[in-house]
C-alpha cells in the first residue's frame, strides 16, 4: 500500500503489451480460448511485476509458473530471465506451511462436528446452535472462500489475509482499468469515428498524424 499506482501503470502497460505481442506471435492459428488464456496470463504477470514484491505476487507468479501450458508463453515473455525467475519463484517453503494448515483445518472441523452433535443431543431433534457460533461459522466459511480467491491466501491468517486481500483488490482494480483503457484504445481507433470528429482539433490531428506514422 505504500507503493503508489503511478509506477504500476507504466510497468504494467509495458509488460502487458509485451505479453500481448508474444501471444500474438506464438499462437496465431489456435483457438480464441488459448489466446485468451495467454493474454490473461500476461496480464496477471504484468500486474504481479508492477506491484512489486508482496506475498500474493509471489504466490501468483509461482502458480502461473507451475502450470504446464503456460511455460511456452512465459518463456517468450520473460526470455532470458525465465530460468532465474522460475528458480526464485518455486519456493518449497509454501508447501511446508500447507502441511501444517491441513492439520489445523481438520482438527477444527472435528471439534465443530462434536459441538454440533452435543448441542443436537441436548436439545432434541432440531439443531440449536448459539448465535456466536453461527456468526463464527459464517465468518469462517467466508474466510475460507477469501483464502481461495486471493493468491497465496491459504497460508495466511486473519489480519494478514485481510491486508493481502486489500492489496490484491487495489491491484485488480488497476489491472482492470488498464485493460479497459487498452481495449478502448483498440476499439475507438478502429471504428468509424474519424469522420465524426469536430473540425476544431484538426490541427492537432495533423501534428499527431506524423507521430503515429513515424511509430508505425
Amino acid at each position: 500500500m505504500h507503493v503508489t499506482k503511478e509506477f504500476k501503470k507504466k510497468t504494467f502497460l509495458k509488460q502487458l503489451l509485451l505479453g500481448l505481442h508474444v501471444s500474438n506471435s506464438i499462437s496465431n492459428p489456435i483457438s480464441i480460448q488459448q489466446r485468451k488464456n495467454s493474454i490473461k496470463l500476461s496480464a496477471d504477470l504484468a500486474m504481479a511485476f508492477a506491484r512489486g514484491r508482496t506475498h500474493w505476487t509471489h504466490a501468483l507468479i509461482t502458480k502461473l509458473g507451475q502450470k504446464e501450458e503456460n511455460k511456452s508463453t512465459l518463456k517468450g515473455i520473460l526470455g532470458r530471465r525465465y530460468e532465474i525467475l522460475m528458480a526464485r519463484y518455486s519456493c518449497p517453503l509454501l508447501y511446508q506451511k500447507v502441511q501444517r494448515r491441513k492439520k489445523s483445518v481438520t482438527s477444527y472441523r472435528f471439534s465443530y462436528n462434536a459441538q454440533k452433535r452435543r448441542s443436537s443431543a441436548l436439545k432434541g431433534s432440531c439443531v440449536r446452535v448459539s448465535p456466536s457460533v453461527v456468526a463464527r461459522n459464517l465468518e469462517n466459511r467466508r474466510t475460507k472462500v477469501l483464502k481461495r480467491l486471493v493468491p497465496g491466501g491459504e497460508f495466511l491468517n486473519g489480519s494478514s489475509l485481510l491486508s493481502e486481500a486489500l492489496d490484491y483488490v487495489i491491484s485488480l482494480k488497476a489491472q482492470v482499468d488498464m485493460m479497459k483503457s487498452l481495449w478502448r484504445a483498440t476499439q475507438v481507433s478502429s471504428s468509424s469515428n474519424v469522420e465524426l470528429v469536430p473540425s476544431a482539433p484538426l490541427q492537432k490531428k495533423d501534428a499527431s498524424c506524423t507521430i503515429a506514422n513515424s511509430e508505425e
Binding site: 507504466k10 485468451k36 496480464a43 467466508r142 485481510l162 476499439q187 469522420e195 482539433p201 499527431s208
Partner: protein, 337 residues
C-alpha cells in the same frame, strides 16, 4: 511491502520497548495509510505515574515517529528510558482491577493533555474487563483486524453501510470475484481483437499519454461496473439486433464520443484514430460477430450517460450497412452538438 517496512521498523524498534512498542510500530507500518488512526486504535494507555505526562508525550512522539516515519530523531532519543519502565509498570499493574478505577480517574486529566498534543482515542481495559496480557494481546489483534476491515470497507463500494463482519466479508468476496471475472472478460475481448491490431506501436504512444490513460480510466470506471454485471451469459448467439435497437445505441455511442472528447482527451483519441486507420476494413468483420453480442447490454443502462464499450463497436455495423445509417447518425450528432 515487507521490504519497505524494514527500514521503518529498524530505527523504531531500536528505541522503543520490545514488548508492546514493536507490535505497535509494525502494525502502523503495515497499515500505512491512516497511521495516526492506527496508533490510536492500538495504543494502550499508560498508567498514571509521576512522570506520566512526560512519558505519554514521549510515547506519542515515539509512535508518531513510527507512523509518520519522517519525524526528527530527537524525540526518539529521549523516550527510550521512560517507555520501557511505563510499559513494564502497565503490565504489572494491569493485573489488579482496583487499579482500573484509579487509572480512570487520572486518565481524565491526561486525556485533555493528550488531546492537545495528538488527536487520541483511548483503548484500554474497561472496568470489569480482564486485563491480563492474554486478553490485551487478543484485543490488540482484534483491533488490528477491525482496522483492516474498515479499510476494506472503504475500498469496496457499497460496503460502508453494512455492519457486521460476515456481510462485509461477503461483499469483499463478491467484489474480488467480480474483478477477476472482469479480467477474464477483458482478456477474451482483447483476444478477439488481437489478430489485427499491431501492439508494438502502441506502447510508445501509450507511455507518452499515460496521464490521459489515467483520466480515461476514471471516467470509464462507472461504465465498466454496470456493463460487466451482465456479461457473463454466453452472448455469442445474439448477433441479430433490431433496427430500433441499433439506432438507440448509435445515438448513445455518439453521445459517448462527444462526452469523451469533451473530457480533454483529444490528443489521446486523435493519435488513436490515426494509428489503426490501416486496419479498419478487415478488422470490422471479425469484431462484428464478437461485439454485436454486447449490443443488448447497452439497452439496459438507461440511467448512465456514459455507455460502455458495448456501444462503440456498433459503429462498425454502420460501416457494414449501407451509407444511410451513418448519414442519419451524423445528423443526430449535429443536433446534439
Amino acid at each position: 511491502m515487507e521490504d519497505e517496512i524494514q527500514p521503518l521498523l529498524n530505527p523504531t524498534t531500536a528505541s522503543a520497548s520490545p514488548s508492546v512498542a514493536t507490535s505497535g510500530a509494525s502494525f502502523t507500518a503495515l497499515l500505512g495509510l491512516p497511521p495516526n488512526r492506527a496508533v490510536e486504535l492500538l495504543h494502550e494507555p499508560t498508567f498514571p505515574s509521576d512522570p506520566a505526562l512526560v512519558d505519554r508525550a514521549a510515547r506519542f512522539s515515539v509512535f508518531a515517529a513510527a507512523a509518520a516515519a519522517s519525524s526528527a530523531p530527537s524525540p526518539e532519543v529521549s523516550p527510550p528510558p521512560p517507555p520501557p519502565e511505563t510499559a513494564k509498570k502497565r503490565k504489572d499493574g494491569a493485573s489488579t482491577n482496583g487499579k482500573a478505577k484509579v487509572k480512570k480517574g487520572k486518565h481524565a486529566e491526561e486525556d485533555t493533555d493528550g488531546e492537545n498534543k495528538l488527536p487520541y482515542v483511548h483503548v484500554r481495559a474497561r472496568r470489569g474487563q480482564a486485563t491480563d496480557s492474554h486478553s490485551l494481546a487478543e484485543r490488540a489483534r482484534r483491533e488490528k483486524i477491525n482496522a483492516r476491515m474498515k479499510l476494506l470497507q472503504e475500498l469496496v463500494p457499497g460496503c460502508s453501510k453494512i455492519s457486521g463482519t460476515a456481510l462485509v466479508l461477503d461483499e469483499i468476496i463478491n467484489h474480488v470475484q467480480y474483478l477477476q471475472r472482469q479480467v477474464e472478460y477483458l482478456s477474451m475481448r482483447l483476444a478477439a481483437v488481437n489478430p489485427r491490431i499491431d501492439f508494438s506501436g502502441l506502447d510508445t504512444f501509450l507511455s507518452a499519454t499515460t496521464m490521459e490513460c489515467g483520466r480515461l480510466t476514471i471516467g470509464n470506471a462507472k461504465v465498466g461496473t454496470e456493463l460487466d454485471q451482465q456479461q457473463q451469459q454466453p452472448v455469442w448467439s445474439e448477433v441479430g439486433v433490431s433496427d430500433s435497437d441499433q439506432m438507440n445505441s448509435t445515438t448513445n455511442s455518439k453521445r459517448l464520443q462527444i462526452q469523451l472528447q469533451q473530457n480533454q482527451l483529444q490528443q489521446f483519441w486523435h493519435v488513436d484514430f490515426l494509428n489503426t486507420q490501416n486496419h479498419l476494413q478487415p478488422s470490422v468483420w471479425e469484431r462484428d460477430t464478437v461485439m454485436g453480442s454486447t449490443a443488448p447490454h447497452v439497452q439496459r443502462e438507461e440511467q448512465h450517460s456514459f455507455v460502455g464499450p458495448g456501444a462503440v463497436p456498433l459503429l462498425s455495423f454502420d460501416r457494414v450497412n449501407p451509407v444511410a445509417p451513418p448519414i442519419q447518425s451524423n445528423q443526430q450528432l449535429k443536433m446534439e452538438l
